[in-house]
């Protein structure tokens, strides 16, 4: 199969859906002729014109409010918030508004097709306010779906599924993955929301991860294999709703688990994963579930410090080995 990048896969999903359905439209800061801060929407303005791909003022609340109003009217907006770090200035829309409006009006609004795209993660030396992994806030919100793809294949398939979902979806893309490549079918396919994926089968220990840490975790699994440890790697893909079943199935087989996330130890979804496994699989666990995560500090600018702050394949290997011994 042809290989394209994660960024191209996302663009392909957007283009596909925009061609099919003229209710789908994109807007946000610099998404137009500029093609987006990370180039994801490059070419779409040229292809679909200024009615379908619109630049906005720097007004994140107005971006999401406009999107929500348009979705209420049956359009299918795909607004972009440049960095997930900026969701803090339009947080109400992702928590009190979009996820609640249908419930609070007793279902008078039937569909609410709203996919908010944003970007996450570190390693670009952008310091404390442009490097965070903040998905853990959003997985606490009933009524909101949260998706974080780790591969180009999943990025395209999950985004297409999100665009058809008729619910508010927060679609978080990993900056560090944009340039990574992988096989992606040309045509249409959906990766259903809410299903985790076993990215490597194994029998000795389950490594649970998502988004940018998948690559590091697979590398760790490779290293562990050469040390005789056969790790299973589960990619969550959708963080809310969490796929409790796939997690349980894997851990009930391996009896051990490490959760790996780029978010800091006190953030992210590690705690929710641990809670899920304690709930479903306590009797199957041979050892405590461990977490590999960023340190509980602000992400520092200085490159050597950022590198120690964020998690690494090495730390995954260490954590897994400690559990196996």
């Amino acid at each position: 199969m042809r290989e394209i990048t994660y960024a191209e896969a996302i663009r392909e999903a957007l283009r596909h859906e925009m061609k099919l359905d003229d209710k789908v439209f994109i807007f946000g800061e610099d998404v137009g002729a500029f093609g987006g801060c990370f180039g994801v929407t490059a070419g779409l303005f040229q292809e679909f014109g200024p009615e379908r791909v619109m630049d906005t003022p720097i007004s994140e609340s107005a971006i999401l409010g406009t999107a929500l109003g348009a979705a209420l009217m049956g359009l299918r907006p795909v607004p972009e918030i440049m960095f997930v770090d900026f969701t803090t200035v339009c947080f109400d829309y992702l928590t009190n508004q979009a996820p609640k409006v249908r419930y609070m009006c007793g279902g008078q609004v039937e569909k609410l097709p709203l996919v908010v795209r944003t970007t996450s993660g570190g390693w670009i030396r952008a310091a404390g306010q442009h490097s965070q992994s903040l998905e853990g806030w959003f997985t606490q919100v009933p009524g909101l779906k949260v998706v974080m793809p780790a591969t180009p294949y999943d990025a395209k398939g999950l985004l297409l599924a999100a665009l058809r979902d008729n619910n508010p979806v927060l679609f978080i893309e990993e900056k560090a993955l944009y340039a990574t490549s992988g096989p992606v079918p040309e045509g249409e396919y959906l990766v259903p929301l809410g299903q985790a994926d076993v990215k490597r089968a194994g029998k000795d220990i389950t490594l649970i991860t998502y988004a940018g840490m998948l690559g590091h975790t697979l590398a760790a699994a490779q290293t562990l294999a050469s040390a005789g440890i056969d790790a299973e790697v589960v990619d969550l893909r959708t963080l809310s709703p969490l796929d409790h079943d796939t997690l349980a199935k894997s851990v009930q087989k391996t009896h051990k688990a490490v959760v790996i996330q780029e978010a800091c130890e006190m953030g992210g979804v590690a705690a929710q994963v641990v809670k899920s496994l304690v709930d479903t699989s306590f009797g199957f666990l041979d050892a405590p579930i461990k977490t590999v995560a960023a340190l509980n500090t602000v992400i520092p600018f200085s490159p050597p410090l950022e590198d120690i702050t964020l998690p690494s394949a090495d730390k995954v290997v260490q954590a897994a080995k400690a559990l196996m011994s």
Binding site: P57, S59, A62, G69, R102, M104, C105, G107, D165
Partner: protein, 326 residues
């Protein structure tokens, strides 16, 4: 006033009395301890509700505030289902899940109130954007208070709407108070409408106690918006007669102030106009009020007899589910 047919004018009067009756019956229910939660009553602001809704088309959209049961009633909502919603009954418009603070009636294109001050102003842009694409000359109006005009959303929404030339009408109902805080202490200009200058859009002030003045201001502003001239900001000056919420002892204003406000009673004023212009007699007006009272009684009975939603409603409507045909 002659611009509107007699029946319309009489129906406006009736709606104003119906709104007041509706609100006063809620005040009684609070006193009687039968109404759950807290309600913000719009007594004194009926000219705003009826003036705005008379000027808008049925095909326009409108969102309003925590003080605007009246706006939704004036939009033509069923008073029975309104009452039931406020009492948390399954027969309410939102199946009892929203209550007073989230009352919305989508089939009347009234998206109702938002519990968070601000967001309705930006959401209005999205509705207006859809209407612009539809291209039928419909507009979307958002109604908010003088207090809510200080939230960041006011700014982001108006600039955005002006840049995109959206058919959006921002209506600020200035009743001079945000809970206890007097407008003069929370705002550095006399008129919220003055802020329109920052966006290059029209900014108008009208007397919010005069239903015909409201009607005319909204009609004219809306006309320009329908013609594609972009958004506008309209400020309606009025006052609220009751506390911010029922039970508010109002230490922040004097009885004299309140009495002076009440002298501007929009219903009495409109009634006098109708009589002076020979459109109605006192007896006509009394009959309209009696009719409204009767409908209110029926609504109270309807609501009282209705059930609360059952546990099967706990998770419905949270996520989209395909509806069965038929």
């Amino acid at each position: 006033m002659m611009e509107l047919p007699k029946e319309k004018l009489l129906s406006m009067y009736k709606t104003m009395t119906a709104i007041r009756g509706f609100e006063e019956s809620l005040a009684e229910a609070v006193t009687g301890g039968t109404l759950p939660g807290f309600v913000h009553l719009g007594v004194g602001q009926e000219a705003v509700h009826v003036g705005v809704c008379t000027a808008l088309r049925e095909t326009d959209w409108i969102s309003s505030t925590h003080r605007d049961h009246g706006m939704i009633l004036a939009r033509g909502a069923d008073i029975k289902r309104m009452r039931a919603e406020i009492f948390g009954k399954v027969t309410g418009y939102c199946k009892g899940k929203g209550g007073s603070m989230h009352l919305a009636v989508y089939d009347k294109r009234a998206t109702g109130c938002n519990g968070i001050l601000g967001p309705s102003q930006t959401i209005n842009n999205g509705v207006a954007l859809a209407l612009k694409r539809e291209g039928k000359g419909n507009i979307s109006a958002v109604v908010f208070g003088d207090g809510a005009a200080h939230r960041g959303e006011f700014h982001e929404a108006l600039n955005f709407a002006a840049c995109w030339k959206l058919p959006a009408l921002a209506i600020c109902v200035n009743n001079h108070y945000a809970i206890s805080v007097c407008f003069d202490d929370a705002c550095s200009v006399e008129d919220i409408a003055a802020r329109a200058a920052g966006y290059g859009i029209p900014g108008l002030v009208a007397d919010g106690n005069d239903v015909m003045a409201v009607y005319e201001a909204v009609s004219q502003t809306a006309k320009a918006i329908r013609e594609g001239k972009g958004p506008a900001l309209l400020e309606l000056k009025t006052s609220r007669w009751r506390g911010h919420f029922e039970g508010d002892p109002q230490p922040y204003r004097t009885a004299e102030q309140l009495e002076a406000d009440k002298k501007k009673d929009p219903i009495a004023r409109f009634g006098l106009q109708l009589i002076a212009q020979g459109i109605a007699t006192e007896a006509d007006l009394a009959a309209l009020k009696a009719q409204a009272d009767k409908e209110l009684q029926e609504a109270i009975e309807f609501s009282d007899k209705s059930d609360y939603p059952g546990p099967e409603e706990l998770f419905t409507d949270l996520f989209y589910t395909e509806r069965r045909a038929g």
